[in-house]
């Protein structure tokens, strides 16, 4: 078996050739750890990694580092998300060192949603905030790789010891310009990504074509690509995602199935299970990243129905 980068469960599962599963635990809009712990109790043992978002959609929430630490203490292995929107390279590296000191070893590198997104929904958000974007997600990957492989900071100074990270990145395979997307993946792999979580996919055929291209370029051997699945909750939600969520296309027949279903909840679960099973058939794909937005309680059922439970021991 090849040398481990950080030796996290997620890394070991992928290395052992198992179909990996990550889920998401969104931090609360407050300082109370209770909601994180509740979700942790619900999902413990069911996945190989638990994504903790970093002020997703630019809405202020408990920090991803603190939330990740809470999960770690509760016995779940976090995938800490880190964006470039709010911190420059100094703060990012400092936070990475701090996170590592806490024992956090999976990190997903993102550019981050623009602060305007914080006011797009029902909240006031902070659209008047100044953003940072000192570096972008690809450059962030390189920063982590430098800290890990060379024990060196972005500016060239050394750190006292290598900082072990299993480095992740996002991929939106179906956004335009479509032909470029696989090269964007290649750049992320070249910059340092070990694993990839994709944007939610509903159009399996189109997704499979993009993964096939990545495979032809040898990318699926270099990075472990986990396909994104968001459990549908209603036809309306799917229509919204189709129209407004970047890089998401929802085929009409899936929308129709949700619209016609006597129980949208059960249909959503069925569709999620089918998507996971379809992804297992895509050559080169190493797992799934499963999300049920603000409905984590339905995840255990889906995970079992998809045959992803129990998780392998590695």
């Amino acid at each position: 078996m090849k040398k481990m980068n950080a030796g996290t469960r997620l890394e070991r599962v992928v290395a052992a050739g198992h179909f990996a599963l990550t889920v998401e635990i969104g931090p609360p809009r407050g300082a109370n750890p209770e909601s994180v712990l509740k979700k942790a109790a619900l999902l413990k043992g069911l996945a190989d990694g638990y994504n903790v978002t970093d002020n997703q959609t630019a809405v202020v929430r408990m920090s991803s580092i603190a939330s990740a630490k809470i999960l770690l203490d509760a016995g779940l292995e976090p995938v800490m998300q880190m964006t470039c929107r709010d911190r420059n390279r100094i703060a990012i590296q400092s936070d990475l060192l701090g996170a590592s000191a806490f024992g956090i070893k999976n990190c997903l590198c993102l550019s981050g949603d623009h602060q305007k997104a914080s006011a797009a929904g029902k909240l006031k958000g902070h659209p008047g905030a100044k953003n940072v974007f000192d570096i972008d997600s690809v450059q962030l990957l390189a920063v982590l790789k430098g800290l890990r492989d060379e024990a060196v900071q972005e500016g060239g100074d050394s750190v006292d010891q290598a900082v072990p990270f299993f480095i992740g990145a996002a991929w939106t395979p179906l956004s335009p310009p479509l032909e470029f997307r696989v090269h964007r993946l290649a750049k992320k792999a070249a910059a340092g990504a070990d694993f990839i979580q994709t944007q939610a996919v509903y159009d399996i055929a189109a997704f499979a074509r993009q993964v096939a291209k990545a495979r032809e370029m040898g990318l699926t051997d270099r990075v472990a690509v986990l396909g994104g699945v968001i459990v549908p909750r209603s036809a309306k939600m799917l229509q919204y995602m189709n129209q407004s969520v970047p890089g998401v296309t929802v085929p009409d027949q899936i929308v129709k199935r949700m619209a016609d279903a006597p129980s949208p909840k059960q249909e959503g679960i069925r569709i999620a299970v089918e998507l996971i099973q379809a992804m297992r058939e895509i050559k080169g794909l190493k797992g799934v990243h499963l999300q049920a937005i603000e409905a984590e309680e339905i995840l255990p059922e889906i995970i079992k129905a998809a045959g992803l439970s129990p998780r392998p021991s590695v």
């Binding site: 550019s111 972008d136 997600s137 972005e154 956004s175 335009p176 470029f180 296309t249």
Partner: protein, 223 residues
């Protein structure tokens, strides 16, 4: 050019309240091109201000003058006579012009009448769009002449985020084209897509405002 837009008139009124006589100064260069601070705008804003002040029940005399460039001392000097007769100045030039006036006539308050927003081009009549953010480390040579610093909402350096809309617009503003999509299209048209495949390392921002206030010195041009 440097582009700017009028501040809300009530904000101007609250600045001018309490003054007796104010000189409204336009600039016939960039801000005239972007229809915010040229002579036409002086001639429109002056009556609006007089009416606004009147409806607020305050009386402030508004004098008007437009000079060629507020960012050059020779032109600024031409205001010396008029300045004698007022107790405040309202400049509708960019922030540089406002500061030149307040430096030259430091005994008076010089208020900004506009918000200076960006370095832009008049893309179409009545439409100005950002082109440069004065980053001090120009990458246009590698991005096919399209600036990702000023024109990508996230100043990305390595290609489009996942948010490019299906119609090629930016996820942050549906009225703005995703510049990375444009860069891709141009690279493709030139047959040089491989140039976009290289990972671009973290940028050096120190030659811009991030490096502290810019100071450019050319010994050969100094007296």
């Amino acid at each position: 050019m440097i582009i700017a837009e009028w501040k809300p008139i009530p904000e101007l009124v609250s600045m001018l309240k309490g003054h007796k006589s104010v000189l409204l100064v336009g600039c016939a260069t960039c801000v005239a091109e972007c229809a915010a601070g040229g002579e036409r705008e002086v001639e429109t804003l002056a009556p609006l201000l007089r009416m606004a002040l009147k409806t607020e029940g305050v009386s402030v005399e508004i004098k008007r003058k437009t000079i060629e460039r507020q960012c050059e001392w020779e032109f600024v000097e031409a205001l010396a006579g008029e300045i004698e007769e007022v107790d405040a100045v309202l400049s509708i030039a960019c922030g540089i012009g406002v500061q030149a006036l307040s430096e030259r006539f430091a005994h008076l308050p010089v208020y900004p009448g506009v918000n200076t927003t960006s370095l832009a081009i008049r893309e179409q009549p009545g439409l100005w769009t950002a082109r440069c953010a004065a980053c001090g480390d120009c990458v246009l040579g590698e991005t096919f002449g399209l600036c990702p610093v000023a024109r990508c909402a996230k100043s990305l350096m390595n290609g489009p985020c996942g948010g490019t809309r299906h119609n090629g617009m930016c996820e942050v503003d549906e009225n703005v084209e995703c510049v990375w999509n444009l860069i891709y299209e141009r690279a493709k048209a030139r047959g040089e897509l491989q140039k976009l495949y290289e990972v671009r390392r973290a940028k050096n921002w120190s030659n811009s405002a991030h490096g502290g206030p810019k100071r450019m010195l050319r010994e050969d041009l100094r007296p």
